[in-house]
């Protein structure tokens, strides 16, 4: 099965280095999360992977072949981007037709079903729809084109809670029906934390985490207890942030704990969820809660 490899990709806009030496791989039939703060370079990365823009250096390959100007590879990927690339005046049904024309086939049955569920009129002109419905139309196309790699850049932008719920359900349904690789790039980490099997965290143009979701959570800890005891325990560990509440302190740690160390009775060790871990990893900021 095909695999996509991102190999030392760097992208500069003028002097600004948006992506710094990015390397990772996408395996077949896996759901990935691509997380990063605004401006971390997520969209730039996805745009390079689908050759909408070019890398300053490095390359993206599928089975050792460069994606650049490769019709077969491009026809195996779909990027549902934040920006709208469809003509304003085009009708929704025409957008489906265009996708069929270019990709060679299109799951109309599913598309019509989804359009009905989300309440999209097929005869509506794309430009006349709201942001939320722009997202929905693009999501429908993304789930109905015959590709093995689907990339979502902010898929639920402008969607209300009900439609978001529906999207996640349809995504998982579609994945079960036809397993393929999904990459979901989003700010709403909590909503996808249990869906994604593997997570990439992009911070300031660098991949800071590339691991299985469960493994990441297994390696992230919150150590809570009296200030002194916590500080003593976490010396030399990879502390990514901390919180204090009066004499109580929590250190957030990403990485292995020292098994040799004795855990004092007064401190409590818990795992941290993905969202919290993300916040501390990408902010590096310290929150002091005063009494």
């Amino acid at each position: 099965m095909a695999q996509i490899k991102i190999d030392h990709v760097t992208r500069k806009f003028g002097k600004n280095e948006v992506l710094k030496d990015i390397s990772f791989e996408l395996e077949p039939n896996k759901i990935y999360g691509l997380l990063g703060r605004n401006g971390a370079g997520k969209s730039t990365l996805l745009n390079i992977m689908t050759t909408r823009i070019f890398a300053s250096s490095g390359k993206v390959t599928m089975d050792q072949q460069s994606v650049v100007e490769n019709d077969d590879i491009l026809a195996d990927m779909f990027l549902m981007s934040e920006v709208d690339l469809y003509p304003e005046r085009m009708r929704v049904e025409k957008i489906f037709k265009q996708a069929e024309l270019c990709y060679g086939s299109f799951d109309y049955k599913k598309a019509y079903k989804l359009a009905e569920e989300f309440g999209v009129k097929l005869t509506a002109r794309f430009g006349g729809l709201s942001t939320g419905y722009h997202s929905i139309v693009k999501l429908i196309v993304a789930l109905c084109v015959p590709v093995n790699f689907v990339f979502f850049d902010e898929p639920v932008l402008g969607l209300d809670a009900n439609h978001r719920e529906l999207f996640y359900q349809e995504l998982l349904q579609s994945y079960e029906e036809r397993p393929r690789t999904f990459v979901i790039s989003t700010h709403l980490i909590e909503e996808i934390a249990q869906i994604v099997e593997h997570v990439f965290i992009l911070d300031q143009g660098k991949i800071v985490i590339d691991d299985e979701t469960q493994a990441i959570i297994d390696r992230s800890y919150a150590i809570t207890g009296p200030k002194k005891a916590v500080s003593d325990y976490s010396v030399g560990l990879n502390v990514i942030g901390h919180q204090t509440l009066g004499g109580l302190r929590t250190d957030y740690i990403y990485g292995d704990l020292d098994d040799e160390r004795v855990i004092p009775d007064t401190i409590k060790i818990e795992h941290v969820d993905l969202q919290k871990l993300f916040v501390y990893l990408t902010e590096g900021s310290v929150n002091y809660v005063k009494e």
Binding site: R52, D71, A75, L79, L85
Partner: protein, 250 residues
């Protein structure tokens, strides 16, 4: 795979261009025929309609240029969204243009036929004007190539403009004519004052058009080659520009 895909796209492009061409004609007919006719009926009581005053061929030729010039970035947007490489999109566009130019050629010929003009009017090949099938054929081929020159010139400009953002486009569209006018006036002024030996340029032109001093005839092969070179250069340039297309943030 590549081939069938670019063919499908070419037909899609062609269909859309054709629809736009029909609309262009509707407007053209409305503005140049219907309104004047209505006016003359109102004021003179007669139609005063003259077929010879219409210029479908001219409009179609102009349309060919404009159609190739416009929509290049829009095309790029939806083709890249749908996983089409720049090369395939470009190749489909070229094929679409070849088809559209053929349609325009047919329109040209129909108009000439209706107006009772001889096709050889377009041809200046003295000595080839004996109205054989060959001369007709050469004239038609040259007309087709002329249309392609027009369309591909439009494509080169269009592909170049597609690389620019809104500001860059504004600068080029406003700046280029200004620069051109200044350059031409200065050049003309310089030429008037300078004493230039024109024979070299004249001789070069003669070769380009295949003019023979001895017979006073034009050889169509020479001009055909010149046209072909133009078409190939424009095709190459448009390919080169289209390879550089990328998604802009505007």
């Amino acid at each position: 795979m590549l081939k069938s895909k670019s063919n499908r796209l070419a037909l899609y492009d062609f269909n859309r261009s054709l629809i736009r061409l029909v609309w262009t004609f509707v407007w053209f007919v409305g503005i140049t025929i219907v309104i004047p006719v209505l006016f003359s009926i109102t004021f003179n009581g007669s139609t005063g309609f003259k077929l010879n005053s219409t210029g479908f061929a001219f409009v179609a030729g102009l349309y060919l240029f404009i159609d190739a010039l416009m929509f290049n970035y829009d095309n790029f947007k939806w083709t890249i969204q749908n996983g089409i490489s720049r090369r395939t999109a470009w190749w489909a566009r070229i094929k679409g243009i070849l088809l559209l130019a053929l349609v325009v050629l047919v329109i040209d010929m129909i108009e000439m036929f209706v107006k009772g003009q001889k096709i050889t009017v377009h041809s200046v090949f003295v000595g080839y004007q004996n109205e054989t099938v060959g001369t007709y054929l050469i004239a038609i081929v040259q007309l087709y190539m002329g249309l392609l020159m027009l369309a591909l010139a439009g494509l080169v400009v269009g592909c170049f403009l597609a690389l620019l953002n809104k500001r860059g486009k504004a600068i080029v569209i406003i700046g280029f004519p200004v620069v051109l006018i200044v350059a031409v006036t200065n050049l003309a002024r310089a030429l008037v004052h300078a004493n230039i030996d024109w024979t070299g340029i004249v001789n070069f032109s003669k070769i380009m058009f295949g003019y023979s001093d001895s017979t006073g005839n034009f050889n169509p092969v020479n001009s055909s080659i010149v046209m072909l070179v133009w078409i190939l250069v424009c095709g190459g340039l448009s390919y080169w520009f289209s390879q550089k297309l990328r998604l802009r943030r505007d």
